[in-house]
Structure formats: C-alpha cells, structure tokens
C-alpha cells in the first residue's frame, strides 16, 4: 500500500510538471491549429539557459527559470514571426508545411545546443536535490514537491491570465474562431506571436523545474515533445484544464508502469494510452465532461 501510495504521489508530482510544458503546447495548438514538434526542443533550450545560469553564475534553478522564461519568450516570438508565420501565405503541396518546419526548427535547436555543449550528460546538483521528506513511510523528493507547486502556481496564473485579462481573452477568441476575432478588432497576428512566446516560456519554466530531476543532453527534447503531445491529446486540444489533468494522468500511468511492469516499459504505457485515446476518444478527456 505504501508502495502504491508513493507511486501515485510521485506520478502526480511529476505529471504536474509535465502538464506545465504541455499547457504551452496546447496553447500554441489551440491558436495556430498546428502541432508544434519543436516544443521539446524549446524545453531543452530553456533547461540549458537555466543550467548555464546555475553553473556560471550560481543561480538556483528555481530562480534561473525567471531568466530562462523571458529568453524563451523572445525566441518563441521570433520563431513564430519570422518563420512559421511566413508559411501561412506560401502555397505548397503538403498542407503540413508548418508542422514540418517546426521539425526543422527542432533539428536546428538540438544541433546548435549540441555544438555548444556537446552530447554530454549534464546535471544540476543543488543542496536539496537529493533530499526527501517522509509522509507515513512514503518518501517524496523535495525537488519534485517544489516543482509541482510552482507548476501548479503557474497553471493557476495562466488560467487567470486567460480568463481575466484582455490579451488572454483575445488569445481565447483567436483560438475559437480566428476570422470572427479579427472582425472584432483583435490583432490576430500579434496574438499568435504572443501565444507562441508564452508557450515557449511555459516550456522553459517546465524544463527548469525538471532540471534538478533529469539529466540534460541535447536530445532530451524529443522526450518532452512526445510527452507534451500525448498530454495535449489526452486533455483535448487547446484546453488548459484538460492539459493539467492529462499531465497528471500521464504522470500516474508512467509511474505505475515503472513500478508494476518495468522501468523499460514506462514510456510505452504513455504511448499506448495515447493511441487508445486518439482512436476511441478523439476529443480527449474534455469530450467526456461535455458529454455528461
């Protein structure tokens, strides 16, 4: 029972941090209607920024994330404005050109980081990263605890931002119906750019929170891309709350899989759930709520 409890709690905590990354992806997906396959690479770049802050300037990862976020916000805005946005008017054979461009961007970001930092595995060792707390026989990592609560804080902030502020409302309007939003006077290209920036910033935040827990190397981005699109589909495209729930579900499923099946099949569990949801529940968990 203790093992089960610990597994579930670990899953929830890890899933909360995954969710933050996925919320960034789901925002972009909702507004731009494309799958951003460079998202994991953005997470990875954010992690490197935080890593450099830590090793060069001794800035704690939880503070370093506030440097990584604006940096990634800027990178995201630039990528959207000068690359992805250009493709809207371009006529091409494959309609998925924008998605394929994000793959190219992922490739470039990964290789640039490989050029700068080599393929070595790196990690951040802080005073607390190996500390644990015990709750009735279950040991929980401190770094996971802090990460989870910061992630949930950001999710809440984002929710407030989307529902209370003008820009947030404009983002939701563009996601619902771009043309109608434009008629209402929303500057949709500016909003799209901001959304991509916010998505990238959230990716950086999630990456920084995971930095004390994961090894860092340039190819780690693929892992996060996979996780965030799984979560996005689980939660339903463009839904913030859905992504939060999807993240936690994925976290629990992975950690149950790792404990009760095997560590090697951990990632398989998530992918199989993903396929099943894609096939039998294409709207994600959100459609369950709507139906009832």
């Amino acid at each position: 029972m203790e093992l089960f409890g610990q597994t579930v709690i670990c899953g929830v905590l890890l899933g909360g941090m995954y969710a933050l990354i996925a919320i960034g992806m789901t925002l972009i997906m909702g507004v731009m209607k494309i799958v951003n396959l460079a998202h994991g690479a953005l997470v990875m770049v954010g992690m490197y920024v935080t890593y450099v802050c830590f090793t060069e300037f001794g800035i704690d990862p939880y503070i370093g994330m506030f440097i990584a976020m604006p940096v990634l916000f800027l990178i995201g805005c630039l990528i959207q404005k000068y690359m992805i946005n250009r493709l809207v008017e371009v006529d091409s054979i494959l309609p998925e050109n924008q998605v394929l461009l994000t793959v190219g961007i992922m490739l470039v970001l990964t290789e640039v980081m490989r050029l700068g930092f080599k393929s070595d595995y790196r990690s951040v060792v802080t005073g607390y990263s190996s500390n644990t707390v015990f709750i009735g026989g279950m040991s929980i990592s401190i770094a996971m605890f802090i990460g989870f609560f910061i992630a949930m804080g950001f999710t809440l902030l984002l929710h407030l931002f989307l529902s209370k502020t003008d820009i947030g409302k404009s983002i939701r309007a563009v996601a619902q119906d771009r043309d109608a939003a434009v008629y209402m006077g929303v500057n949709s290209s500016k909003i799209t750019m901001l959304t991509f920036g916010i998505g990238a910033a959230l990716a950086a935040a999630g990456g920084s929170l995971l930095l004390p827990l994961f090894y860092l190397w340039p190819d780690i981005g693929h892992l996060f891309t996979a996780k965030s699109f799984i979560i996005t589909i689980l939660g339903g495209m463009g839904s913030t709350l859905g992504a939060a729930i999807g993240g936690i579900v994925l976290g629990i499923a992975e950690s149950l899989g790792a404990t009760y099946i095997s560590m090697g099949y951990k990632d398989l569990v998530g992918l199989v759930i993903f396929l099943l949801v894609l096939l039998f529940l294409p709207g994600g968990f959100r459609s369950l709520v709507r139906r009832s």
């Binding site: 250009r86 054979i93 793959v103 961007i105 050029l115 393929s119 894609l278």
Partner: protein
C-alpha cells in the same frame, strides 16, 4: 526536349553503372552507398507522404523491422543475412497492415502523431524484448567486404524502388493517391475507397523502407534499437530528405539524400557530432523559400520558362 531528357537519363544510368570502376576509393563509395540507402528511404516515404499526403513520422518502424528481420535470421537461425533482403521488406509489409489499420482511422496531424507514437512503440519494444537481444543490438560478421559489391546492390535496390514507385504513381492508383492528398472528402464522394488506397500506398512504402533496413543491416553489420528505430535520425530525417529534395517528385528524395549525406560528411570535421546542423538550417530555408523542395521548384521554374516561350510563339502567330 524529350529526346534530350531521355539521353540525359541514359547518361545518368551509364554513369551510375561505371562509377565504381572509376572511383575506387572505399570512402567515396561508402558515401554513395549511404546515399543509396537514404534515397530508398526517402523515395518510399515520398510515396505515402508526398503523393498520398499522409505525413508519417514513423517510418523508422519499417526501417527497423527490415533491419532486424535480416539481423535476427543470422542471430537466431544462423541463416545468411542476405536472405533478410527478401524477408525484411515482407516483414515490414506485414507490420504495416496493423499500423495502417490503426493510423488510417486518423487524419492530418493526428495521423502524423499516431505514426510517431507507433514508431516509438516499436523502438521501446525492441529495446525491452529478449527475442531481439534488447538494447545490446545485433552484430554480424559480413561475408563480403568489397564496397563495389554493396554499391551495385544498393544501386539495384534504388533502381527497383524508384522504378516501382514511378509505375505506381503513373498508374491509375497514382491518380487516386494524389486525389486523396488534394481533397480526401472529394475523393470519397467520387467513389474512391480512400482507406484502401491509403493502405495500397503504405504497403509498397513499408516494403521498400524495409528493403533499405535490410540493406543497412548487411552493409553496416551492427544495429541496435536506438539506431534503426530512432525518431530523430530515421523517421524525421526521412521527411527532411524529401522536403529538401522535392515532395511528390521522382528524383527529389534522391537529390535530398545526396545533399543530406554529403553535407553531413563535409561538416563532420568542423562541427563534430553537430554535423546535421547545416542540413537542418538548409531544410528550414528550403521549407520557407522553396516549399516544394529543390526538384519540385525546378519543375515549376522549367514550366514557367516553357510557358513564356509558348506565349512568345503565340505572339508571332498573331
């Protein structure tokens, strides 16, 4: 013009056949053999992705299964892996049936993501199963080490791939496939069984990707799941090679493969393990400025020039 094109093609074939008699250096031949393998992967991806419009992020599954079919023959039964050149493509075709059954229920980006997930599932399975020797991979001792031999095997495999793909695309099936890409709903309403034809595109696509995999196993002689089922190095590169060379063109994937391999080799000394960087930047630029790839835009440019000439001729007539 037609005669000129034909002469050019014959010249190309002659050059391809006598090339290893001129270039004897193993390094240069090695690069050309790698180009052949990538051209096969790209051409088969192009049949499904370029012509049919089903962008697959999971072709590593077929590549890996083809490679493993050859490797496991040797590993478990001691049969020469050359039989894998027969078994590999068929094994890839067999696994493409359930994959098609699952993935073709979905469309557009959802299809792409499902294929990505399926490819990754294969990688994780092959890492964890004991039957495939897990992450340790499979090492074989090649019986033939002459590069010239592999050159001709690769060349014939590529010729077969391009030939069959060309035949499919220029048959009635090809028109059906293009119609699915252009507008699936309209194709359905005209009575084309779209799922069936998507599967008909997937089968040869998987077959030839499996052939490339089996050739890779025989040539490189070592595989492990993280090499042959790799998402970024196989599945994604297959797409990038086609995007660079030209979507839905006969020669585009081959051109893209040549650029990919040669750029990688040129920058291996200066950029080290990040040698794909230049290729990645080039792909981004190509998608931005030549959205249909090098060969694709070449046709357009040529058509543009031809139209201009016709216009001038018409002017004279009046």
């Amino acid at each position: 013009m037609k005669n000129f094109n034909l002469a050019l093609k014959i010249l190309l074939v002659v050059i391809a056949v006598i090339l290893p008699l001129v270039i004897k250096a193993p390094y240069q031949l090695h690069i050309i053999i790698l180009i052949f393998i990538w051209a096969i992967i790209g051409t088969s991806w192009n049949l499904l992705g370029g012509y049919t419009g089903q962008v697959s992020f999971g072709h590593a599954a077929f590549f890996g299964v083809g490679a493993y079919a050859a490797g496991l023959l040797q590993f478990h039964l001691g049969v020469s892996p050359w039989w894998g050149m027969l078994l590999g493509p068929f094994a890839a075709m067999v696994i493409s049936l359930p994959i098609g059954l699952i993935a073709f229920r979905l469309r557009g980006p959802y299809f792409a993501l499902a294929m990505l997930a399926l490819g990754e599932i294969f990688r994780l399975l092959f890492i964890n199963l004991a039957f495939t020797n897990g992450a340790k991979g499979i090492l074989i001792m090649p019986e033939i080490t002459s590069k010239m031999f592999y050159y001709y095997v690769g060349l014939s495999a590529l010729a077969l791939t391009i030939g069959i793909t060309y035949l499919i695309v220029h048959s009635k099936i090809g028109f059906y496939l293009v119609s699915i890409r252009e507008d699936q709903d309209a194709a359905t309403s005209l009575g084309i069984p779209t799922t069936l034809y998507k599967n008909l595109a997937l089968l040869p696509s998987a077959f030839f990707t499996g052939l490339a995999g089996a050739l890779y196993m025989n040539y490189v002689a070592f595989i492990d799941p993280n090499i042959v089922f790799n998402l970024s190095n196989i599945s994604v590169m297959a797409i990038m090679v086609v995007m660079l060379g030209g979507v839905a063109t006969t020669w585009g994937p081959t051109v893209g493969a040549a650029i990919y391999i040669i750029l990688g080799e040129v920058f291996r000394t200066t950029l080290g393990s990040a040698n794909v960087l230049v290729f990645g930047v080039l792909v981004c630029l190509i998608i931005l400025f030549l959205p249909n790839g090098i060969v694709g835009e070449l046709d357009m440019l040529r058509g543009f020039l031809a139209r201009k000439k016709e216009g001038a001729a018409g002017g004279v007539k009046i």
